[in-house]
Amino acid sequence: MGEVKLIGAWGSSMTWRVQMLLKMKGIEHEYVEEDLANKSPLLLQHNPVHKKVPVLLHNGKAIAESLVIIQYIEETWENGPSLLPKNPYDRAVARFWAKYFDETCLPAILKAIKTAGEEREKAKEEAIELLKFLDNEVKGKKFFGGDTIGLVDIALSFGAYWFDIILELVGLELITKDKLPNLCQWIDEFVNYSFVKENLPDRDRLTHVFKVMFPGSAAK
């Protein structure tokens, strides 16, 4: 199927999304670690618009943006497990929620992390309100994808694992049993799902990466 290269950064949840799918499908690839503080000519050449990871190179052709990459992988390597359902309506629903998390929830969550005092309280309330829709969506289901993980589960991985680490560092509690009970349960299922569990980045190393990403975050 040609030469596959993934430019990513260790600890990046967006990179992790793509790595999981490549692994699920058993796609052999070369991984290139990018130093985000010192971006390489390779990255800048292949993603001049956003200058971000992940970037997938397939036979030299570059694809950027994690959700675009995921759909590209699904459409190019059609066999094996899939993150997207077969039915067009279910696909539309999956795309909607993945987009909702990335474009609406994530900025609100990051705002809550990066602010303090009253501003943080306000941002936190807003983020929780936004996450309630996702909480409702996963109600009664093991995963957003049903019995197995799908696009939305992978898209929300930041909320499941990464976020817990940030919570420890920054003392910000967002996903609680009283406000978002179904999401809490989902997190439990997700991080303990064997395939995910085997592949989650090392917690200590990730904590260290975040301390660098969110300096002064030790202050509660």
Binding site: V49, H58, K61, I63, A64, E65, V68, I69, Q71, Y72, E75, T76, P88, Y89, R91, A92, V93, R95, F96, K99, Y100, E103, T104, F133
Partner: protein, 232 residues
């Protein structure tokens, strides 16, 4: 309601609704257009899109689909026997999706900002960003069209729809600011593309009349400013 009836919560002013309409037109799907009041929002809208409370909303039988690009992909996949909207090659599809996301996340916010910015320096900077974005899109057009009329080749495709839906508003903004945004000098290929796109039979009947839209924009700017202030 019959299980396959198609309805679209819409408004003549919305470029996002236009995306859905063009997609339905391409596939020759009969649908009922339900005009949405917007100010205030109807119960039907609030009920069918509680998350974003925005149009377009596609109601297909008992299925509800929101978000214009999600809707366009849905239409492409459900009415698969009609002309294709997304390219057939996975890499071309990825390029189309990438640039459609760029248009929505990076380029259009500047266009929208132009309706509410008051300060001259900020306006100038925004205008520059819009033009820079169009120059990037001109390069993209060269690569995607491969010498043909549209991003999609001989026929209108996903990226044509993603960008083309904003043309009427672009022309209105050119009138308001007295600045050429999509001109023959800086972006000759896109300039021609805009004319071709607007006159396509699947687009032309639903493209808003520019004079009418200009008139509408006068009150709309005020509403947008008030809405943005409330959000802060």
């Amino acid at each position: 309601m019959a299980s396959n009836e198609v309805k679209l919560l819409s408004s003549w002013i919305s470029p996002y609704v236009l995306r859905a309409k063009i997609a339905l037109n391409i596939k020759r799907v009969e649908f009922e257009s339900i005009p949405e009041t917007l100010f205030p929002k109807s119960d039907l809208l609030l009920k069918s899109n509680p998350v974003h409370k925005k149009i377009p909303v596609l109601i297909h039988g008992d299925r509800i689909i929101c978000e214009s690009l999600v809707i366009v992909q849905y239409i492409d996949e459900v009415w698969a026997s009609g002309p294709g909207i997304l390219p057939s090659d996975p890499y071309d599809r990825a390029i189309a999706r990438f640039w459609a996301a760029y248009i929505d996340d990076k380029w259009f916010p500047n266009v929208r900002a132009l309706l509410v910015i008051e300060e001259d320096e900020a306006k100038k900077a925004t205008l520059e960003q819009i033009t820079e974005g169009l120059v990037l899109l001109e390069e993209t057009f060269t690569k995607c069209s491969k010498g043909k009329k549209f991003f999609g080749g001989d026929n209108i495709g996903y990226l044509d729809i993603a960008l083309g839906c904003f043309l009427a508003w672009l022309r209105v903004l050119e009138r308001i600011t007295d600045v050429i945004l999509l001109g023959e000098t800086k972006t000759p290929l896109l300039f021609k593309w805009a004319l071709d796109f607007s006159s396509e039979p699947v687009v032309q009947p639903d493209m808003p009349d520019i004079d009418k839209l200009h008139e509408y924009s006068k009150g709309f700017s005020q509403r947008l400013k008030a809405f943005d202030k409330k959000k802060k």
